[in-house]
Symmetry: C7
Subunit: 249 residues, 7 copies
């Protein structure tokens, strides 16, 4: 609707409104998110699953160093998509905030409170000049008073709560897949499977376990736990041969 | 009246006057408000109704996280339209201001005083360089000395007091509807109904209860109360079959 | 005399001089004043009258919230025209300044001193970068040592003292009307009438009482007093039927 | 000599040198001075005369509020031409400086010292970015150790000492007139007459007393004194009918 | 995909997003890295090898002053590629950080922790205005709890962990060579040989020992050690005549 | 060599290098120096002579206020050419520096030390943004340990020591004249004559005493002394009729 | 490879990367170095020689004031090429740094440490906005623990160690000459001769002693010593008539 030369006028320098009320720098930051590989979050009654597709560009690179899933606190994990270095800043902020809560009040921070601390920081970078917005989206999952919670933050500083959500590359396709397949009462194990199948859904081929980073925060332990590569491989194998597995059980 | 290339010259960088005395960045911020879904406020002798249309983009998104109505203090609620993350900043400012009044003077803050604190903050962002204006309009409703009050703030930092007002998408159509239908002496229940019908008026079809966020602050309790989804559904049902309902009573 | 493309070069960014020694941002701020509805001030031997045309855009808007006349101190009132949120900042500055004088020196501030505090603040915004000028003109009326005083401030930070003055929309027409009709020795009552007739003079039809905000500061009480809507209506009625009224007396 | 498009390149943003070593913003500020009505200063052995042409735009405006001549200290007056609000800032600076000298050292400030304080401030605004130069010229007159002194400040921050000088509109014509008519040993009375005739010289018609602001600082009282409107009228009358006056004497 | 004139719009001034979500200044900083001579890092079970190609432009220049490999702490070395002066700033930061850890906690800093301190600093320069990104990539090698670690930092502030990695000129060719030749269980001596052969691989001719800077941090001593020029020469000789050498042994 | 449109690109905003390594703002500041009337300095074994051509634009201006020669300390004088208000800032800096030396160390400041303090300040304005360079050159003359010294400062912040030097308008012509006529062992009186003849040399006609400001600092008194107008007139007369004078002697 | 209009886009305002990873402002600063007259440094086993070509533009200028060789500490000298006033800032920095080392630790500063302090400062000006890079290169020569050291700093903030190096005008020609003629084991006397011949090598004619500034720091005294004009003249004479000289010996 808006011509290209017109658009150019509003997307430079500090973040300002275009005539139709848009913040182009924020929208471009959303494009930076889309350039990142996908992450998904699944909320089950037993806990939250965070899974991320990590593209390792060389066989000599340590897959573990392509960090897409981060522990923010004992009971909170964060998956990211987009600008990697920006994500680390926000994860660090979340960690400091969680530690501060522990130190000052002697209690674990709420997942929603923690998400808000992050989105307030993100929003500030979209309004005050002299800096660009954060080019990253996050999925913040954890346990609040025994309840699993899953939040998304976007580059505008808005947060949303989800049952299951995808961010990053092919977000729309994966979200469609989740909407079709998500079952609210499935258990954590099923949530892990759904997460892995969702990451593979956009390419119409199963993900390979070595390209996936996956963690859970369950309601029992309320503890962030990375799922081992071995277990991932066995689950991926199950997904590929669902009939065989079913007959096993 | 003003050519496009001419206009472009005045809407970049910091907020400055155009030759005809307009502040384009503020006007564009108003466009950001129009891009948000509508909110309405209704003042009745028994209290204030705040209602908002919340568009939930996915069946997996928690509707409650698309926050459009916020509690600012026990006796004050705020409905917003426009840039969500900006709205949260202003709501937070209002909360801190209300708490400060309580702490410093041991008394609840007046609704008008609170609104002014917010609009002073908004105005500053339209005059001092290095930041963009807030892309959000608010409806601030509450009880002052037993009297229901309803204020609107706009992106220029101006506030207005209303009997009934709409902000956001389709503002003009909804405001026209309110001007036709508003009855100053109707009770709170009627106010809730009017708010729901007003939100549906632009689309010429009734709103669905699940897409509405609604709260009241009545003169008796002087307390912000969210109306439950169940009650909203029954009221919406009444609106759709007004004759049947009437015969029930 | 000056071509358009040439002019454009001097009206962006910070407030700087054009080759012919003009400050375009200040001149554009004056245009913002003209976009506001008119206010008039009348000085009589018995006191000062401040009156403002307030345009209420909807029947549901509280006319009182379209604030055009403000009490700055017990003995000083301010009428404004132009950018509403800017006016509020200057009125707040005047109030703080008046209170400060009371607190520090235990005496009421002079009307001229108060006006200067405001215009010094306005001037600063026309010289130092990083902010735009104030888009508002004020009429500051009050009593100094028993003497009625009436000052105007403009967006350049200049102040003028008047017997009777108009600011805002149709300023020139209303000022011409005042120059013809003003009688220095008329009493306050006549001043109120003149103010109302002046506001209506540009449209060649009488003002409606409900669209007018009017206050007086008389030499006896030295107190800012808003004239009630009822009294305004009766005065407007008198104006409309001057012969009938005269015969009544 | 310099084309227009070339010139434009050097007169924006902060005050910088053009290729031929000029500071355009300072030169444009000089244009702002020329846009102001004229002021003249006359030094006589008995004291200094400051006179200013004040254009009152409406019969309802208080001429006294179109302030062109200011008392800076008991023994120093300042006449201005150009941007009125800028002039007020410099006069306030001069007053604070004079009071500071009194407070710190218990002595009246020298006229030259005071002028330098003002021009140092003006210079700073021509070199450091983030602000525009002052658009005003001043004539600073007073008594130093019994000697009358008369200084001019210009927008570059330069000061000059004069026997008789004009600033503002028609400066050149009035200065030519002064060069022809000035007599170093004429008394203060003759100085007042010369000032009034000088102000009228550019229009080839006598000034009207009501449009003139005139003050003297004589060597006897060393005190700034405004000349009353009545006395101005009688002097102007003398000027208009010099023969009749002479025969009277 | 993106035209050149379009691209230019997003790569000036502060670091901002382009419409497709890229940070051009960061990408150009990556070009600055490619302009620097290559460095490689090899991780073996016995320790880490850092090697750099140093181009000495004159026979009179001290090769040792073309510093490409730096000791950051006793157990950590850093190889750089790109803007030399920028590299020194980051190495100094790493040193201060390592010393601070020693002083505050009395323990050696972890290699990963140290790398993060560096990448956090790099990231800040890509988001906050008023400075350009760092035009340098680093290979940080060292021993963590007896384990050899090798990290890369890039100009976006991202870090990756590697078994073997190349940065700088001909990075892709050298990385391909490493992927073919790297053997995870080769000893440190073999690692040194591989590093030297990798540096020569892009030119298809063996490196000359005098143009190489090489250091190791082995798991036994956990100490950064520069390999002497003599030893380098003998190893290079071995590489050139592998058959002869083998028969010698 | 460099086209005009190319050049324009490097001479705006802050002081930056052009592709050929020039600082245009500094070069333009040198043009500002050339726009000022000339000053000359002559070093003789008996002391230093500073002389300046002062153009008085009106017969009513006090020549003494067109200050070109300034006393910086008892034993140091400064002559200037260029932007008058800038010169005053540097002279004030020199005075404060000289007084500070006296206060802190109880000794007179060296002429070279003083000159360096000034040029350090000038240099800073050519490198740090947010201000323009100083548009003035100075000749600093004085006595150091009984030795006459004469320094020049230019707008880049460089200083040079001279036997005899000219700055400002016609600098090259006057410097050529000085190179031809200067005799290192001539006495102070001859130095004064040479200075006056040098100032007149560019116009090929003798200077008029009233347009000259001249001061000496001799090795005997080590004191800055202004040469009186009377003495200047008699010396100029001598210069005009050298033969007559010679025969007189 | 890169067109001119393209290049212009990256060399204005703050120092940023061009698409091919270059910092144009730094490269232009290198051009400023080339505009300065040449300096050379020679390291011999007995000490370091610093020599500079100083162009004296007038016979009346004191050659000593065209300072190209500076004493930074007792045992360190600095030769410069490029922007003279910039060089002075860096030399002053070096002096303060050397004095600080003496004061804080009671020991002389290392030549390499001192050079790094200078290049760190230079680097900062190439990365942080609001200032231009330093337009100067330095040769820092001195004695470290009895060993002669010679470093070069360039405008990017890089330093190199040399046996013999040239900076400034004709750098490449002189460096070629040095590479041909330099003998590592020649004594200090031969080093002085080589320096003088190198300075003359670009013009193919011997330098004149009066245009040369030359200093040595030898390993015996570890003291910066300027070589007198007389001695320079005799050495230059020797160079011109090498045969005659040799036969004399």
């Amino acid at each position: 609707m808006q011509g290209q030369s017109q658009q150019q006028a509003y997307d430079r320098g500090i973040t300002i409104f275009s005539p139709d009320g848009r913040l182009y720098q924020v929208e471009y930051a959303r494009e930076a998110v889309k350039r990142g590989t996908a992450s998904v979050g699944i909320r089950t009654p037993d806990g939250v699953v965070l899974a991320a597709d990590r593209q390792v560009s060389s066989s000599l690179m340590e897959p573990s160093s392509v960090e897409k899933i981060h522990k923010a606190d004992d009971h909170v994990g964060i998956a990211s998509a987009g600008h990697v270095a920006d994500a680390r800043q926000l994860v660090d902020l979340a960690r400091r905030r969680a530690q501060g809560e522990q130190l000052r009040y002697g209690q674990t921070i709420g997942v929603e409170t923690l998400t808000r601390a992050v989105t307030d920081h993100i929003q500030e970078y979209t309004q005050t000049g002299g800096a660009r917005p954060f080019g990253v989206a996050l999925l913040v999952g954890g346990i609040d008073d025994g309840e699993p919670r899953l939040f998304e933050t976007d580059p505008s500083g808005t947060d949303y709560e989800w049952q299951a959500a995808a961010i990053g590359s092919n977000r729309n396709e994966i979200q469609d897949f989740l909407e079709e397949q998500y079952q609210p009462d499935a258990d954590l194990e099923a949530g892990i499977e759904l997460a892995l199948r969702a990451l593979g859904s956009a390419d119409d081929e199963p993900v390979s376990a070595e390209n996936v980073d996956l963690a859970t925060i369950d309601t029992e332990d309320e503890t962030f736990q990375t799922v081992s590569q071995e277990r991932l491989e066995s689950i991926v194998a199950e997904i590929d041969q669902p009939d065989a597995e079913e007959s096993d059980e």
